[in-house]
């Protein structure tokens, strides 16, 4: 579904991604873990062209999306993204947040978009919050609205950029549960996360990144419990301590 070949990205002098190769199959859940600065978020943001890649190629369902043939909105209509800071539109209600893009990008009618929006918000457990503005919602609720908003565009794949890192601990579970359900329904997901429990339970594959390269990748049981690389075990040692 999503294939990265030799992906490289620099910010000025700093090489953030160094020749990455990754293949995410349809319906697969891939969790990307690693220390901050390893390039995990940048990787995600290159997939939907939020950041332009310097070198390398990215393929979405076999179509190359780097190289200028397709513009950013081609990709973004097919790949949804959920952000660490939620980024909900504060001047719109939950329902309006969810229905805006389908109406203005896909051209759906208001009735159609809102009906679909209501269903999605119900699915993430927020049926009673459809007319609330983001400032009246908890972090966990806002993030679930963000998930519904991304799903409203009917993406083929979803990108999650540390979506629980900004949440109070007691609100993390509700978001992870929503993501778990999505995974069970067969969504292709690329998840950057620090939640090792989630990675262990839900991921089909775990990828450990450090310093712009993939150090190790494999089934969660392998990478998380029997890492081959020293860097991996060092990182896991730090993370799993608490």
């Amino acid at each position: 579904m999503v294939r990265l070949e030799g992906l490289s990205k620099r910010f000025g002098e700093l090489e953030v991604l160094r020749g990455l190769d990754l293949d995410v199959r349809r319906g697969e859940v891939v969790c990307v873990i690693g220390p901050s600065g390893s390039g995990k978020s940048t990787l995600l943001r290159c997939v939907n062209l939020l950041e332009p890649a310097e070198e390398g190629r990215i393929f979405l369902e076999g179509e190359e999306i780097t190289g200028g043939k397709h513009k950013q909105d081609y990709v973004c209509r097919r790949v949804g993204m959920v952000f660490q800071q939620f980024n909900l539109f504060p001047h719109k209600t939950a329902l309006e947040n969810v229905s805006l893009a389908p109406r203005k990008v896909l051209g759906r009618s208001r009735g159609e978009a809102e009906e679909k929006g209501r269903a999605l918000l119900h699915r993430v457990g927020l049926a009673d919050k459809i007319d609330e503005y983001p400032d009246r919602l908890s972090g966990g609720q806002q993030q679930r609205v963000a998930i519904a908003r991304a799903l409203a565009m009917e993406p083929r794949a979803m990108l999650f950029d540390e979506v629980t890192s900004a949440l109070d601990p007691e609100l993390v579970k509700e978001v992870l549960d929503a993501m778990r359900e999505l995974a069970d329904e067969g969504m292709t997901m690329l998840v950057v996360t620090h939640e090792m429990g989630f990675a262990r339970d839900v991921a089909d594959r775990v990828v450990f990144m450090d310093d712009g390269v993939i150090v190790e990748a494999g089934p969660p049981a392998d990478v998380l419990e029997h890492p081959r690389e020293e860097r991996t075990s060092r990182f896991l040692g730090l993370v799993l301590e608490h």
Binding site: N48, L50, Q72, D73, C76, R77, G80, M81, F83, Q85, F86, N87, L88, F89, P90, H91, L100, A101, K104, V105, L106, Y133, P134, D135, L137, Q142, A146, R149, A150, M153
Partner: protein
Amino acid sequence: MDVFIDQYFDLTIMRENLGLILDAFWETIQLAVIGAALALVWGLVLALIRLAPGRPAAPARALAIAYIDVMRGIPLLLVVLLISGSFPFLDFLPQWLRAPSFFGKLDIFWYGILALTLTYGAYFAEVYRAGIEAVPRGQTEASRSLGMNHRTNLRYVVVPQAVRKVIPPMLNDFIALMKDTSLIQVIGVVEVVRQGREIQAETFNSSALTLAAILFILVTIPLARIVDRQIARQQIRFQRG
């Protein structure tokens, strides 16, 4: 002290000239409201041109920057005189533009409106730009990741938020504009300051001007309070997310 009251608060003079002053104030209001409305639209256009992305838009951006710099750098009075002095002679312009008389208002009125629009459009453009740039980048990232293009993002996500943010500085600029309408008197428009000045000359007394001042304050202070309340309500809404 009595002399002070006589000079500035002679109620008889105020009463006798109330009609004239109110008529002239109505002229002030029309200049201010129409001028501001057009300047708000023109300012937004300028700001969007200034912020247009991509290399092909560079000449347009440069023009917008030059325009804004120039119009913020020269006095409104100069602009008023530049327009009124020479427009009648610009024979490449159609007559209805050279000496406009829309809605029965004199051409000098419309020259004043044009001057206000061209000048304050530049000030508003910079306020809009600050507002647009103050909208967090995450908002644009979210819109783009939902497939919205630059224009859709601006229209439904960024500009609505920017406009709410810039209401206080806009209000300040509107009040400045309203006060600057008094400059249009030099080309013959009888707005409230001009009217007060004429009465002052006739009566050797400033009470009509005091009345004009009171009318200004009666408009600007409530406006400020209404906007304060709007801001407080919006503030809460933008706290989270």
